[in-house]
């Protein structure tokens, strides 16, 4: 137990000495793939000691991944990570911590039913004879708090703290372990304005004390306010690194967008002028996540929904199909007011939702393709509750062939399929009996390029057949290239609805980020 104390003391001493000098991190030519998705491609960045270095970019640009590579959460597939001049290969966040690099993640990782001070010194509390030494624990905590420049009640249970305070606990824990570089991954995403301001203060104070901060965020205003240096990422590549003083909001936006040319989209078919309105949503609000949203979709139209992750697009989809309780607003289908109160109601009405996460919301992974595809339509394949296997098999084989689901057998569990094929199964499930309205939420997430193109073709073809389609996607290009009109959501509200020539990246991104488009200022 004395060794524990000794180790602890050295950690603290390290931290004390180190607080004068933050860590320098150099990332050289790093590549990182997740399955078929290239999250980082040939990324090189230098993080100078004692600075706040921001990583910005759109959803999926790779900014979080880069932060996690630095903190040892993800190991790069190739390329080098050099910390304080020494090449490093981290296998876990524990490894990086030995060099004083730690991460405050989007999802807080604390022991909820323990006190603040216990969490801060989790894993290496001061101990004597196997018992935690309460007095020394308190002393060390006070010492640490003084050094950090902000305080929290040491006895409070972490579970009872606000998220903002839980993040502070994480920061304290990083400092207690001698952190000299802290990666903050979207730290203000769930904070109120005041809490965010407080966090900025803490971040600056940490810099004053010499700690290096890597600040991952998609809030451009706060990044400009806070950072010394800003690196812009797009599609997993570094677009630019420059001092924050030289950047402007519209300049950042135009760097973050920009078209990558490696993906082709099928041509859109114009919506016939006499196409009837199929779905009309008026003033829908739900659960504090959606406020007064209205839109309508016509037969044969693809209505795109753009916006940041967390802007309320998926919640809107859930509210429309009755999977989330609507607190206000009306829904009309073919001119008739309808009130879907559950997904079952929506299914009967012909409104289908392809949910955002095929694994947790879309498919029963352990069951076969057949079972998944016919699940919502079993009434059509049964008499008196008994399933007719032959009719079922024929229907599934037909749609699996039409959607090009590649599998050795439709009896195979969905778990064994690739992401692209799983997504096609999800489409097959909802297209087996074509709905009037199809709401596709992130239909190409985690899918390889070939399957993406197949899904684009499918969406265009379905629209051409007269289906009304709502396309929610965080890939801006998808929304821009496939939609006839684009709705942009921000913080649960519909920020803009663009059609025709108005649909361009700058307008959409500006609306999504809540800033004035560059063009509009001129």
């Amino acid at each position: 137990m004395t060794t524990d104390n000794g180790k602890n003391a050295t950690l603290l001493e390290q931290a004390r000495g180190a607080s004068q000098t933050g860590a320098t991190v150099v990332v050289e030519h790093v590549d990182k793939r997740f399955g078929v998705v290239r999250a980082l491609q040939d990324v090189s960045v230098t993080i100078r000691a004692g600075t706040i270095h921001a990583l910005v970019g759109e959803n999926g640009a790779g900014k979080s991944t880069l932060g996690k590579v630095m903190a040892g959460v993800h190991a790069p597939d190739s390329g080098q990570l050099i910390v304080d001049g020494r090449p490093r290969r981290y296998r876990s966040p524990r490894d990086s911590l030995a060099d004083g690099v730690t991460i405050v993640a989007q999802e807080v990782i604390l022991v909820p039913l323990r006190s603040v001070e216990e969490n801060v010194f989790l894993g290496h509390p001061p101990a004597r004879l196997g018992q935690i030494d309460r007095r020394r624990l308190r002393e060390q905590y006070e010492e640490l708090v003084e050094r950090a420049g902000f305080a929290l009640p040491p006895d409070a249970l972490v579970a009872e703290l606000r998220l903002a305070d839980q993040q502070k606990v994480e920061i304290l824990r990083g400092l207690a372990r001698g952190a000299r570089l802290i990666v903050m991954d979207e730290p203000t995403a769930a904070l109120t304005r005041d809490e965010a301001e407080q966090l900025f203060g803490i971040t600056r104070a940490l810099r004053e004390r010499g700690t290096t901060i890597v600040y991952v965020s998609h809030f451009l205003k706060e990044v400009l306010e806070l950072a010394d240096t800003i690196t812009v990422l797009r599609d997993g590549r570094v677009i630019d690194t420059a001092p924050a003083g030289e950047e402007t909001e519209s300049g950042l936006v135009s760097k973050m967008i920009g078209r990558s040319l490696d993906r082709a989209f099928p041509p859109r078919r114009p919506v016939p002028a006499d196409a009837p309105e199929v779905l009309r949503v008026r003033g829908v609000s739900a659960g504090g996540a959606i406020h007064d949203v209205s839109f309508e979709v016509r037969a044969g139209e693809v209505l795109g929904f753009a916006g940041l992750v967390g802007s309320g697009r998926s919640e809107l989809a859930h509210a429309v199909i009755g999977a989330m309780r609507r607190t206000a607003g009306t829904i009309e289908l073919d001119g008739q007011v309808v009130t879907p109160r559950s997904p079952a109601d929506a299914k009967r009405l012909g409104i289908a939702l392809l949910p955002e996460s095929r694994k947790t919301q879309g498919l029963v992974l352990g069951r076969s393709i057949t079972e998944n595809v016919t699940l919502p339509h079993l009434a059509d394949f049964s008499t008196w509750g008994a399933i007719s296997p032959r009719r079922e098999r024929r229907a599934v084989e037909e749609i699996a062939a039409r959607l090009d689901v590649r599998t050795r057998s439709i009896g195979a569990p969905v778990r064994d399929l690739s992401g692209g094929n799983q997504q096609k199964v999800l489409f097959a499930k909802w297209l087996l009996r074509p709905p009037r309205v199809l709401i596709a939420d992130e239909p190409t997430r985690g899918v390889d390029v070939g399957a993406k193109r197949a899904i684009y073709d499918l969406i265009v073809a379905l629209a051409a057949e007269g289906m009304a389609i709502v396309l929610i996607s965080s890939e801006l290009e998808e929304v821009l290239s496939l939609s006839h009109r684009v709705c942009v959501m921000r913080a649960g509200r519909l920020d803009a609805t663009l059609s025709g020539d108005e649909i361009d990246e700058e307008r959409v991104v500006a609306a999504a980020f809540g800033s004035e488009p560059a063009g509009a200022q001129a």
Partner: protein, 330 residues
């Protein structure tokens, strides 16, 4: 260079995947193989084992357990768990014994089954509307239902005088006891229900991924409740059979042991507590494996005390293998 690396990678990935498939096969068919091996061993180890009388005796004796295990498989597949079947077993026996002399066999049996269904409905409500973990909910109702059964019987054995009643548990048709016929019909019905009907599909979907099932328009709570009601009915049926055998209703009629055997059989049959899996025929093999162990120990003359130790060891082996197969790195 990179191609070589890639080739090595592929080879390195294929091997664990293949061995995992082999392990999964062991998990899927291990229970069958174990059963066959034990069966053959017993044929040689004891002359008395392989006789029509002994085998039918085993089946007859284990029929109540098989009935409960069949329904428990459906509960497992729907993502639930029902510990209270042992108490429902006793309650149904008491209810029937109290009524049968006054209202006749059909009505009394119907009342017993109805009591089981009501208990199942209550369990289902606790899990769905009450959102209580089914293990804990049915642990509680296990005690409550046992208490109710004691209340109804005043803690006494309730002797039945109507002669016809004991026929249910003791009568024979074509040389096979009614009990075995009842169990066979019930098991086949459960098996068809799970594998061939819309309800069965819903059960697997609800157990495998409740959110996806709900977004597919399935009444998740309704499916779970029906599974619990079935479970209650199965326990009542088993309890009535045993009460008839001894012409006695008794709150504490050994239902807990039978319930544990039934749940053990389900686990040995490979149904997962996580839900979305499980088939009736494998559960049946699982229960019969337990039956063979018990019978074998008797015939060979090993102290019955060791039987429980062996049973526990087999559960650990089966479940350990299962956990190992599941958590192997993907």
């Amino acid at each position: 260079m990179s191609t070589v690396d890639a080739a090595v990678d592929v080879a390195a990935e294929a091997t664990p995947a293949q061995s995992r498939m082999r392990l999964a096969a062991v998990r899927d068919y291990g229970i069958v193989v174990s059963f066959v091996i034990l069966f053959v061993v017993l044929c040689f180890a004891s002359d008395a084992f392989l006789s029509k009388t002994n085998l039918l005796n085993i089946l007859s004796q284990w029929s109540p357990t098989l009935i409960m295990a069949a329904a428990a498989t459906i509960v497992f597949a729907s993502g639930g768990f029902d510990l209270s079947i042992g108490s429902i077993f006793g309650l149904a026996g008491v209810v029937v014994a109290l009524l049968v002399d006054d209202v006749g066999i059909p009505l009394a049996v119907a009342a017993g089954i109805g009591a089981g269904a009501a208990c199942g409905l209550f369990n289902g409500l606790l899990m769905t509307v009450g959102r209580i973990n089914p293990f804990i909910a049915t642990l509680a109702t296990m005690m409550m239902i046992l208490g109710v059964a004691y209340l109804l019987s005043d803690g006494n054995l309730i002797a039945v005088t109507s002669t016809g009643f004991s026929d249910i548990g003791n009568g024979e048709l074509l040389g096979v006891t009614y009990t075995v016929w009842i169990a066979a019909v019930f098991i086949i019905a459960c098996s068809l229900l799970l594998s061939r009907t819309v309800f069965g599909r819903f059960v697997y979907a609800v157990g495998g991924n409740p959110e996806a099932a709900w977004l597919s328009g399935i009444g998740v709570n309704r499916v779970r409740m029906v599974a619990f009601i079935l479970s209650g009915v199965s326990a009542a049926l088993a309890g009535i059979i045993v009460a008839s055998r001894i012409s006695t209703g008794q709150a504490d009629a050994g239902g807990l042991n039978l319930a544990l055997d039934a749940l053990t059989g389900v686990i040995l049959g490979g149904a997962s507590l996580a839900g979305g899996e499980g088939t009736i025929w494998r559960t049946v093999v699982g229960v019969l494996l337990l039956a063979l162990i018990g019978n074998g120990f008797n015939l060979i003359g090993v102290d019955a005390t060791y039987q429980r130790i062996v049973q526990g060891g087999i559960i650990l082996a089966a479940v350990g293998l299962d956990a190992w197969v599941r958590t192997s790195p993907r």
